[in-house]
Amino acid sequence: MITALLVMAGLALVLGATLGAASVLFKTQGDPLVDKIDAILPQTQCGQCGYPGCKPYATAIAGGDADINQCPPGGDEGVRKLADLLGREYKPLNAEHGVEKPKSVALIDEATCIGCTLCIQACPVDAIVGAAKQMHTIVGDLCTGCELCVPPCPADCIDMVPVTETVESWKWRYPVFELKVQPATLPAKEAA
């Protein structure tokens, strides 16, 4: 019995010392998780999540400070992808942060624009061109539809216009499946 105790205690001392030393020597640094989360976020930089941009929100998610359902532009699909990546439970979009809307771009009514540059400063992705006292234009391709330029406009000349389908952006529809099958959204899967 004494032998057993001694052997076990000896083992424990060695193992404990090894583990303790290893915990200090092999500490890991850096967090690639933030980049993975950021890659899922839509990069509208709209701030609806409550953070000043997508990257800060990604950092907050990785740090456990923010939930995964705060990004309306990313929509339901975005939440699912985040849930998948992080191994967390899917939850519907938090309405406090807004609702999912069809993608739109901002359009400046060029007749009303007074050239105040306030929208230029508000735009997080430099999608508005123009100079002081000059009419401004939004580069449609660069606009992420974040709506941040709308409130600062003193002349109320910015409208959000939904993006319409063109021959180039048109997509073939999912073929009608004759047998009733609803893939991918089994509630049981979510519960797991």
Binding site: M1, L5, G16
Partner: protein, 253 residues
């Protein structure tokens, strides 16, 4: 996929941990020793782990001591119970488990290596010999048998101790799996052992019953039991005469 991930304790079940990479919440925070040096942490860990080990090893050791006697009794009781299936406990009154003789390696027993033979007596009278044998030619491997041979030359009984026969087909040689009544294995009890060498199933011209479609297992049991009994029976008086614990090598020369 997700199941496999869940199987590792390092990432515990999803639902109730809030941040995935939980820092030790309630565990002793290592912030207490802010700029941890490797040596310092190592020493502290070693001491703590050592202490825990001592405490819990002691717990195990004490339990071991406390259960030593009951376990020994249980093992013995179990052994006697098994023997009781081939030799009723009322038939003998000696300490069967200690009244033993070591048999040499006998081809007839089918076991490589020495075999322990138990001797049952009532008072001074010899009652029976109890020993193990093996049938090498079961349908899927060897079958271990426990045999009781009475001093008068009749068979006390045979019991299958371990086997790997096909479930539902050949496994009726094991009374626990045999659905028939009386059990197939019961036909050994009380048989005369004079012709044991020629025992076989009816299909091969013997007088042992078997079930349709499953001849191999009973044939193996019958033949092995017969061979073993035929080898031991002539020597039974000599075996009873040997001192306890002796080797029976001379008897079978």
């Amino acid at each position: 996929m997700s199941d496999a991930e869940r199987d590792t304790p390092a990432t515990p079940p999803a639902a109730d941990q809030a941040p995935a990479e939980a820092v030790p919440n309630g565990l002793a925070p290592h912030e207490l020793t802010p700029p941890a040096s490797a040596a310092g942490t190592a020493a502290r860990s070693a001491l703590l782990l050592g202490t825990f080990t001592l405490i819990f090893t002691a717990l195990m050791a004490l339990t071991f001591e406390a259960t030593r006697e009951p376990i020994r009794a249980s093992v013995e009781a179990r052994r006697l119970e098994l023997i009781a299936q081939v030799l009723p406990q009322g038939d003998y009154d000696n300490a069967l488990l200690t009244d033993i003789v070591q048999l040499p390696t006998l081809p007839a027993l089918g076991i490589a290596g020495p075999v322990t033979l138990h001797r049952a007596r009532r008072g001074a009278d010899p009652v029976a010999l109890v020993f193990e044998a093996q049938a090498p030619d079961g349908y899927s491997g060897t079958i271990r048998l426990l045999i009781a041979l009475r001093a008068d030359g009749t068979l006390g009984g045979v019991r299958v101790v371990a086997h790997k026969e096909t479930p539902g087909l050949g496994d009726y040689i094991d009374p626990a799996k045999d659905r028939a009544a009386p059990k197939w294995i019961a036909q050994f009890a009380g048989r005369d052992t004079a012709q044991a060498d020629n025992w076989t199933v009816r299909k091969d011209g013997g007088d042992f019953a078997y079930m349709t479609g499953a001849t191999i297992s009973p044939r193996a049991v019958v033949r092995a039991a017969g061979r073993a009994v035929a080898a031991i029976a002539p020597a039974r008086e000599a075996l009873f005469g040997l001192p306890t614990g002796a080797s029976a090598g001379e008897v079978f020369k």
